[in-house]
């Protein structure tokens, strides 16, 4: 008998293990699939970032680090504001003491959109091997001297070089006795020490305030009574960051970061003093936070900035890809997604402006006002089912209603406005559903007590229901936006272009400008369709950028949700 029970137990244990193992295995498998995708993406981006390539072949990046006595580098912009190539030639005057007297030659460097020739220029007894050289952007060639006399190089015209070997900018004349590497690049890594320092300080302060101990607070205690000096120093740092910032974005963000840090630091010190005067412990998280800001608004902003910083700091390193370079049809690795990035920003802004008021209004009506009539039920059913309609059908709707001229078409053409409206229509059912969920979760007692003190229905909604449902609504809207941000199908139908070499104009459809636009998913789609492998690398890079943007949006949604939830609880 006992034996039977034992075998039964063993068998059941074995079977349980099988299910548990199968479940965990499927879980692990799905996780692995996701991980595999991410690893592959990172590996793909490694090719354009760490390994550079030209003419389609891929070679180690170290080959492209110039090994020479002198480096002359021009940060040559791809295109100017109008979309034309900036082809002002760089003219170098090269002089040396030859056997037959002083030699003086001009070398003209023309930067073109084509790949151009890349052969080195020989400096010999007969003079220069060529007087004019045509190069593509992001190329490198050498001025090779076979003489053993010093050669002096002077720039006569063209854009100023970005840097010389010692890192001093704007030196256009020098004497050298070896090879000179000439680098024509467009954009390089931007490193902003002051901005980074600002972010780090803010991070450290947030960490201290959220997990205070005596030891961590000690440096802050020492600051008592020195508020004026601190204020001065931080103001100076902020101004300094703004002045020496290499790009507008980093200057702005860095300055903002320092200002925020200053305000937060001063408030923390003030609050700590107040707490100590009251004879209370500083290490209680809640009290300290409360003393800094009554509604935690400041902490929220710093936290949101920190979250975005997490994504901006790595982007800073290769930010030319995102915000500076346009697509370069001849050189995949020198391409960027500037036009696609701004296209995405504009399309998302228009979609949000159009869809949010309407969908939140609809949600309020359906939840707060509507009686359960047949119309209401119909609208509810339509919302639920519209959320499941394939995105490409929305694209066709946009094509017929917004793009097409004549009939019921508005005739906006394949423009950003039409794309934004289409995306807004697509986001609507998702936002309505999320907002309804949020409104439904507001407790009934809140409404009833508001009615009890004599509020009208609109007052109840405006002053009591909406504020407490706001976190859910905001989170839902941001998540809906991040979902439609990755959608390419409707925009393919609306008519996004494959190649856009200028910043898109959001209202071109009304003002009569150039309609063409593109967004990041569309760019990925077209780059993936290209036969060359180099474009696939760029598609991977664009995917990484897109996913990072999506994660940033989702993190902001999560931070918002947590913040509002805490406020509601307190």
């Amino acid at each position: 008998m006992k034996k039977d029970i034992d075998t039964l137990k063993k068998r059941s244990r074995r079977r349980r293990d099988v299910v548990e193992q199968a479940g965990s295995a499927s879980l692990a498998l799905s996780g692995l699939v996701g991980m595999f995708f991410l690893v592959v993406l990172v590996w793909q981006i490694a090719i354009p970032t760490f390994i550079d390539g030209e003419n389609g072949e891929i070679s180690a990046a170290s080959e492209f680090i110039p090994i020479s006595d002198y480096v002359l580098e021009w940060d040559h912009p791809n295109v100017n504001e109008q979309g034309d190539l900036n082809t002002e030639p760089i003219v170098l005057t090269i002089t040396w003491e030859g056997r037959t007297g002083a030699q003086k030659h001009d070398l003209e460097i023309v930067v073109t959109a084509n790949r151009g020739e890349k052969e080195d220029v020989q400096i010999s007894e007969e003079g220069l091997s060529t007087t004019s050289i045509e190069v593509g952007k992001k190329t490198k060639f050498y001025l090779k001297s076979v003489l053993d006399v010093p050669v002096s190089v002077e720039q006569r015209s063209g854009p100023v070089p970005a840097a010389d070997a010692s890192g001093n900018p704007h030196v256009s004349s020098f004497v050298v006795s070896g090879d000179v590497a000439v680098l024509i690049s467009n954009g390089s890594a931007v490193f902003e020490p002051l901005e980074m320092a600002g972010w780090t300080s803010l991070l450290v302060l947030t960490f201290i305030v959220s997990r205070p101990t005596e030891r961590r607070l000690a440096p802050l205690v020492r600051c008592y009574g020195r508020e004026r000096q601190i204020r001065g120093i931080i103001l100076l740092l902020a101004i300094f960051t703004i002045v020496i910032g290499q790009t507008t974005l980093s200057a702005f963000l860095g300055g903002l970061c320092w200002l925020l840090f200053g305000v937060a630091l001063l408030r923390t010190i003030e609050g700590m003093e107040r707490l100590q005067n009251q004879g209370r412990s500083l290490t209680e998280v809640k009290r300290l936070k409360h003393s800094i800001s009554d509604r935690e608004g400041l902490l929220l902003w710093s936290r949101m900035l920190l979250v975005s910083a997490c994504f901006f700091i790595p982007l800073d390193i290769d930010i030319p890809f995102l915000t500076e370079r346009y697509q370069d049809i001849f050189q995949p690795y020198a391409s960027g997604i500037r036009s696609a990035f701004f296209g995405t920003v504009w399309v998302m802004s228009i979609a949000m402006l159009v869809s949010m008021p309407i969908s939140i209004g609809a949600a309020i009506y359906l939840e707060e006002y509507a009686a359960p009539t047949r119309t209401t039920k119909l609208i509810q059913a339509l919302v639920t089912n519209l959320a499941g309609v394939p995105s490409i059908v929305f694209g066709m709707f946009g094509l017929a209603i917004f793009v097409k001229q004549g009939g019921i078409g508005l005739g906006l053409g394949p423009s950003i406005l039409a794309a934004g409206l289409t995306m807004g229509v697509m986001a609507m059912p998702i936002i309505v559903l999320a907002s309804q969920e949020a409104l439904r979760s507001v407790p009934r007692s809140l409404r009833e007590s508001a009615y009890g003190v004599g509020c009208t229905q609109w007052q109840v909604v405006k002053d009591h229901v909406l504020p407490s449902a706001m976190p859910g609504i905001m989170t839902g809207s941001i998540l809906a936006m991040s979902r439609i941000m990755g959608e390419a199908a409707p925009l393919v139908v609306v008519g996004a272009a494959a190649l856009v070499l200028f910043d898109p104009e959001p209202l071109a459809a009304l003002t009569g400008g150039n309609l063409n636009f593109t967004v990041i998913p569309i760019q990925i789609y077209f780059w993936t369709s290209e036969p060359e492998h180099a474009w696939h690398s760029m598609a991977a890079a664009a995917s990484i950028a897109l996913i990072l943007l999506l994660i940033a949006m989702n993190s902001i949604a999560i931070v918002l949700r947590q913040h509002f939830r805490k406020r509601l609880n307190s």
């Binding site: 059941s12 349980r16 299910v19 548990e20 199968a22 479940g23 965990s24 295995a25 499927s26 879980l27 799905s30 996780g31 699939v33 996701g34 995708f37 592959v40 793909q44 008021p357 309407i358 209004g361 609809a362 009506y365 609208i379 339509l382 639920t384 089912n385 519209l386 499941g388 309609v389 394939p390 995105s391 490409i392 059908v393 694209g395 066709m396 709707f397 017929a400 019921i408 609507m428 059912p429 609109w458 991040s482 990755g486 959608e487 390419a488 199908a489 393919v492 139908v493 998913p521 569309i522 990925i524 789609y525 993936t528 369709s529 696939h536 598609a539 991977a540 995917s543 999506l550 994660i551």
Partner: protein, 452 residues
Amino acid sequence: MKKSLKPVAQKRAPADRVRLLLFITSLSVIFITLGIIQTLLFEAITFFREIAGVRGWFSFEFDPKGVMSQTGLGAFLFMLALMMEWISEHRRHYLAIIPEQILFPPSWALRSIYALLIIAVVVVNSMLLWASTVALVAVWRRVAKKHMLRGTGNIDQTDRSVTIALGCCLFFSLFIATTEHYGGAFGEFFFQNQWTPTGACADRRSLCENMNFGVNSLLLTTLQVAFGALFIAVPLGVGCAIYLSEYASPRLVSVVKPTLELLAGIPSVVYGFFAFIYIGPLVVELGEVAYTNGWIDQPPNILNPINGAIVVGVMILPLVASMSEDALRAVPNELREGSLALGATRIETTLRVMLQAALSGILASIILALSRAVGETMAVTLAVGTVAVYTSNMFLPAQTMTAYIAQRVGGDLPFGEIGYLTIFAVGLYLFIITLSLNLLGNKVLSAYREAY
């Protein structure tokens, strides 16, 4: 009386204005739906009218010999199912004649029949025959359940929907079996298998003779991709859901759930990129093995429906997992505790109680995932290819309905041309399929929400 009412009405006015404004915003949902349906219908009707102007609306020839084909067998099975259903509804006393062994076979026999049905999806050439077999088995189990419940008073009132659905299936399959050579606008679009909407014509706007509009070619690939995706997503997703809701610690759940959401948040075009770059070559290697062994008659291509099915399967996996987990969590704890208290082991509780109780929720998640898979565009466009061929060989490039739309509008497309009209006809078909799947899924979903 009137005088006294007036000021009150004036006071109420602002509130009413707000109400009206909000009502108008909610009406926009109706406008959008009507707009979608109107656009699709308008252009699709123009499309059908243009073809009908040349080839007529609908034509076919009778061919009674087709009853002996696979489709005819399917129609016969449908008829059998319909008869069983009708008898069980209206002549219940006849059920007593059927021996118990037929209605309640041993569980191993039942399971092997289910397994055979699943395997048959791959083997059977005619989907109609497979569907009719499934219908027959389903009706058989339904009758058995009714027989078991007789006398307990728990039998539902006569449910006509099953009879009507079976009748429609019977009519449809009988029609398919006994007719051939479909022509005309509708006959060509819904029954023919060749999809060549571009032809070398003198006049681009005109309808050439060598154009063919048999949408089945696109539909077959769409279904191959969607069901292939379910093949991957359902076992993995339901497995995940069971593990997360029954076994995993809350800490693990709090880590895994956001990861699944992240997986769901990756844009479809990025998945398409993966399929194009990585999964395609892997599938080709598999196809090479099949080709050298002679299982398929043409060498595999890097773009194929299997590739698309894998990537779409991974895409819909988070949807299946999270919705199934919600369904499992919605099952009241009393059921679980009751089962454990009766001495069932954890595995028995999971498989026999929890899974059964949450079955409709899981089913709803599968239906909604199927709808998502059918409507998926960018990943499929990049993974499956752009050649519309009607073939059951899943290693060859093909084209889904969504991919056709995306590929066709990608070029310069003049409004009003026949190519422009085809995308709306295909879009309408797609819209109807996904809408009916969504309606079905949401109905099942609300049914299980009401149950608990």
